[in-house]
């Protein structure tokens, strides 16, 4: 393989693939290095129409057999975990979580904070919710000037920054991403301004979702069909044909038929197949980048391990890091430790006031769920979500509730629609506690098991919110001395909520509960028992991340107050860019993938001029 490229992109997901797509089509020689394998969709290469997919409609691909955490000295050493087939083994590549507010507590190894290690990255497994952020999400410092917030100890807004560019600058890139990725949904009812509407037409909603829509309407919340990165019509930009994507195997599954618009089927595969652009793109799966090396301000060598584990090196005029926030920050820090006086000094690693790894973000999230008494639906005829509302993101709502920022609310349709997952997720708080609820309910068996199925199978409806999280200086990514399978230091996630996050989450969870109660009432469903319902948030559970891993290398105009410049180039370097979610100064009031993709398209435009 050639050793020199115009652009080396590390990561093939939402942050990396748009760069590769744009620059290969501009005639630049692009190499994409992906840590994970290239798993094919059905019939997607030259083997003919019967070439099977490496993804399967198989619940064991979502969260497979039990594995055991063997990293010594952790609070959960010897505990079980259940990962998907494309998430890393936690013993090979641990993410270690610590609570900054309780440093006396032991750390835990967590499955939270991964996306997926596969070509397409997290877009292979995600639920495909593809929302824009609101105009306000880009300027939360300005929007909060002079406001009084509830549960504000005085420091809530200390580290809140406006984004250096606003919604208007993002708009053409949102439109481009929506067109090229392939997204269905509706614009009407959204709390953002739309120029061009590139959505494909949504399919009929699952009838259980109507209860949620009724609830939102009863509370005066304008609704729209949740934009989902799943094609419902033939998609010309990627050459994909429409089919029936409503199969229940959506969230946490790779789609064997490629209807879900992951970045492999929507961006990379079409580029490789394009007669003009294809020769300019090289995709190398199973290639784990270990560190970067710089000469002065220029990163000129990318060190990686090939599929056999042998050391290899390539170089690029430009290097783009897009490994997902936690892993990108780790890669930067590992590169700093390889060369503390060169790379490290330029990245300001370890200096007082360095922001590398700081202001790590996820989302304030939670929701409500209930069993709908006397109703049952085939929830497997579904995508991940049907209806959404921005009614809790606008100024009027935020003023009424003393909140700094809000977020989107949407119903979940496919959750727990399949029998193994129904049990696996029963009473489990997160991916770290899969199966624990079902296993300990020892009284539920035989007839009682049937009663539980009667009660829960096809009856459960949930509504979730996804809101901005307050940036805290102490929320950060560091290196942990525990070594990964390449003997490199692991990622250490140190994170907890701000007290105002608790207020935001309480308000939003309450709205979600009321959506369900009102929706049930207006749908003629009576007697929903409090014991059938759960509502709440992840407040107090700092480890929860929802796989929305953001911040840690925020962009800005002031070199002393940010890690990346407004073009997402790392301060101190001429040719090093970061395009995953780590650039975000605030996390936005919606799922982040579309914004990561739009930003990567934006940075690609800058790179066309720079190279």
């Amino acid at each position: 393989m050639e050793a020199e490229f115009d652009v080396v992109v590390i990561g093939s997901g939402a942050g990396g693939a748009p760069i590769a797509y744009e620059l290969a089509r501009s005639g630049m020689r692009v190499l994409v290095l992906e840590k994970g394998p290239l798993l094919r969709t059905q019939g997607d290469d030259d083997r003919g129409p019967f070439a099977l997919s490496d993804f399967k409609r198989d619940e064991m691909f979502n969260a497979g057999p039990e594995r055991i955490i063997t990293i010594p000295g952790m609070a959960n050493t010897n505990a079980s975990f259940y990962g998907s087939h494309v998430e890393p083994d936690l013993n090979d590549e641990p993410h270690i979580y610590s609570d900054p507010d309780k440093p006396q507590n032991k750390s835990t190894v967590t499955v939270e904070g991964y996306t997926a290690q596969v070509v397409g990255g997290g877009t292979q497994l995600y639920g495909a919710v593809s929302l824009r952020f609101t105009e306000r999400d880009f300027r939360l410092r300005t929007a909060n000037e002079g406001r009084t917030l509830k549960d504000d100890p005085g420091d809530t807004l200390d580290h809140v920054r406006d984004w250096p560019i606003g919604y208007d600058a993002f708009l053409p890139y949102y439109e481009k991403a929506e067109r090229l990725v392939g997204i269905n949904g509706t614009a009407q009812g959204q709390g953002k301004s739309f120029g061009t509407n590139n959505y494909q037409k949504p399919l009929a909603a699952n009838p259980i979702s109507e209860v949620a829509r009724q609830g939102m309407a009863a509370l005066g919340l304008a609704t729209y069909r949740t934009p989902l990165a799943v094609i419902t019509e033939d998609h010309a930009p990627s050459g994909r044909k429409a089919g029936e994507p409503r199969v229940g195997y959506v969230n946490r599954y790779g789609d064997p038929l490629g209807y879900k618009s992951n970045t492999w089927v929507s961006l990379l595969r079409p580029t490789l197949k394009d007669p003009q652009a294809g020769p300019f793109l090289r995709l190398l799966p199973n290639a784990a980048v270990t560190h970067l090396e710089a000469s002065g301000a220029k990163v000129d060598r990318v060190h990686f391990r090939d599929e056999s584990g042998r050391t290899k090196t390539v170089s690029g005029k430009v290097v783009v890091v897009a490994c997902s926030a936690v892993e990108s920050i780790r890669l930067m820090m590992l590169s700093c430790e390889h060369d503390p006086t060169g790379f490290g000094r330029r990245a300001r690693y370890g200096e007082d006031g360095s922001l590398l790894g700081r202001f790590f973000l996820t989302h304030a999230f939670g929701g409500a769920e209930t069993a709908l008494t006397g109703r049952r639906y085939d929830k497997s005829i579904s995508l991940d979500s049907d209806y959404a509302t921005d009614g809790c993101a606008g100024a009027e709502f935020l003023d009424a509730n003393g909140m700094w920022a809000g977020g989107v609310i949407y119903n979940n349709t496919s959750d727990q629609c399949l029998p193994v997952t129904l049990a696996r997720n029963d009473q489990s708080a997160d991916l770290d506690t899969n199966w624990s609820g079902f296993m300990r309910e020892t009284g539920r068996r035989e007839g009682a098991m049937r009663t539980w199925l009667d009660h829960d199978f096809g009856t459960r409806l949930s509504v979730s919110f996804m809101a901005n999280q307050i940036p805290r200086l102490t929320n950060r990514i560091e290196l942990h001395p525990v070594r990964d399978k390449w003997n490199r230091k692991s990622a250490h996630i140190i994170k907890q909520w701000h007290s105002h996050d608790g207020h935001v989450m309480n308000v939003m969870a309450d709205i979600c509960k009321n959506i369900l109660l009102k929706g049930a009432e207006n749908s003629g469903i009576k007697d929903i028992k409090p014991t059938d319902s759960e509502y709440g948030s992840v407040y107090g559970n700092g480890v929860r991340i929802a796989n929305h891993i953001l911040g840690g290398m925020r962009f800005g105009t002031d070199e002393t107050d940010s890690v990346l410049d407004p073009d997402c180039r790392m301060w101190g370097f001429d040719n090093l860019y970061v395009t995953d979610g780590s650039f975000m100064p605030t996390s936005g009031g919606a799922n982040p993938t579309l914004t990561i993709q739009a930003n990567a398209f934006r940075v690609a435009d800058r790179l066309k001029q720079a190279v």
């Binding site: 290239l38 599929e307 079902f438």
Partner: protein, 373 residues
């Protein structure tokens, strides 16, 4: 029998093995509970994935339209050279999936350190194999499944999808396990029993006598103890042995499969439990498990019977409702049971099934016209 080779791309092989096998760290991090810590397989993740057993891919329209491809798996054998070790010369495979006197050449995958070959093997089979490195036989250093031949020789082994003979459990262990699983799953009432037996007969499943109403969950557990969750095999062996002891003390002279149990338990059931129900409740009781200990359970051998019940619950449920390829849910009968039992209930909608799984799942289990499995 001459093995039928399948031409898999280098990309396929690497995508199914690199992330598990390539590494520097030599700590035995995948030796759960210290098992086999001295073996190579304790140093890599997901050793159970080898050899890779995948759906057989039709190579032609004729093969696809005949449906014959659904009777086979593609099994890919992989052997990796050490990064700092010598390069192998000739590498070959000998296996009962082909003919033991006809070694099958394993080719180097591109310029990598892997050697591989893929065979087409019938579903529901178990075979033994060894690698030949420059003519010398070696066991697969990664695959944890071993097979001891009647002549005393030890081989690596594998099984394909829906294999229905026991792999790691003794016959009596399997029988007892099957009985325990029935205490958990919701198929004990008459309606469920009739439905599942009819479904099993329709699916023409061999060894129907094994199924009873555990719907293959015990078979699934045998398979997962052989591969994915091999770390639980010693615990199962110990617990099944002590459960048999407790039952023998409580029901002297009665074979475990004939020990009575009261009728299906319902929520709020106030009747005292007997037989297997009592056993289950005693095991679930939590410390100090007095009733169990009184009848011979040795807490020094296994100190948390409730943990075993919890484990059994997860395995039983997964085995009952997972994809049939894993050895449970024979003929997709539990999915059919859910589809038959649950109807859409909404005044505005027709009462169609509330679990139309067949539209989603590949043939021969389902009827998807798009998805080939």
């Amino acid at each position: 029998m001459r093995a039928r080779l399948v031409d898999k791309s280098d990309e396929y092989v690497l995508n199914h093995c690199a992330r598990f096998l390539a590494r520097d760290n030599r700590e035995p991090r995948h030796s759960y509970f210290g098992l086999e810590a001295e073996h190579e397989r304790a140093r890599i993740s997901d050793a159970w994935r080898f050899p890779v057993v995948d759906a057989h891919e039709p190579s032609s329209r004729e093969e696809f339209e005949s449906g014959a491809y659904m009777d086979f798996n593609d099994v890919t054998f992989v052997l990796k050279e050490a990064n700092d070790g010598p390069r192998f010369g000739a590498v070959a495979l000998v296996t009962t999936a082909g003919a033991l006197n006809r070694p099958i050449e394993m080719k180097r995958v591109g310029d990598t350190l892997y050697h591989a070959v893929t065979l087409m093997v019938g579903r529901g089979q178990r075979h033994r194999y060894r690698f030949l490195i420059d003519g010398s036989p070696v066991l697969d250093p990664v695959n944890p499944q071993l097979f001891q031949h009647s002549d005393g020789s030890v081989w690596s082994s594998f099984f394909t999808w829906e294999y229905q003979e026991t792999v790691v459990l003794e016959r009596w262990e399997f029988t007892l396990l099957d009985r325990l699983v029935r205490q958990i799953l919701p198929f004990e009432d008459e309606q469920a029993r009739i439905f599942l037996e009819r479904g099993a007969a329709t699916a023409q499943i061999p060894n129907l006598h094994r199924l009873d109403v555990s719907v293959g969950a015990a078979n699934y557990i045998d398979k997962i103890l052989a591969r994915e969750e091999r770390h639980h095999l010693p615990g199962y062996r110990t617990c099944l042995d002590m459960i048999a002891q407790v039952l023998r003390r409580r029901f002297p002279g009665i074979a475990v499969e004939r020990i009575p149990s009261d009728a299906s338990r319902s929520p709020g059931d106030q009747r005292p439990a007997v037989g297997y129900n009592k056993l289950y409740e005693d095991m679930s009781a939590g410390t100090p498990w007095s009733a169990l200990v009184a009848d011979g359970w040795d807490l020094n051998r296994y100190d948390n019977p409730t943990y075993f019940v919890n484990l059994l619950r997860r395995h039983a449920w997964t085995g009952a409702f997972c994809h049939p390829k894993y050895g449970g849910n024979f003929g997709a009968m539990t999915w059919a049971y859910l589809a038959d039992s649950y109807r859409v209930t909404d005044p505005a909608l027709p009462p169609t099934t509330a679990f139309d799984w067949q539209r989603t799942i590949e043939r021969p289990y389902g009827q998807s016209t798009e998805y080939l499995g």
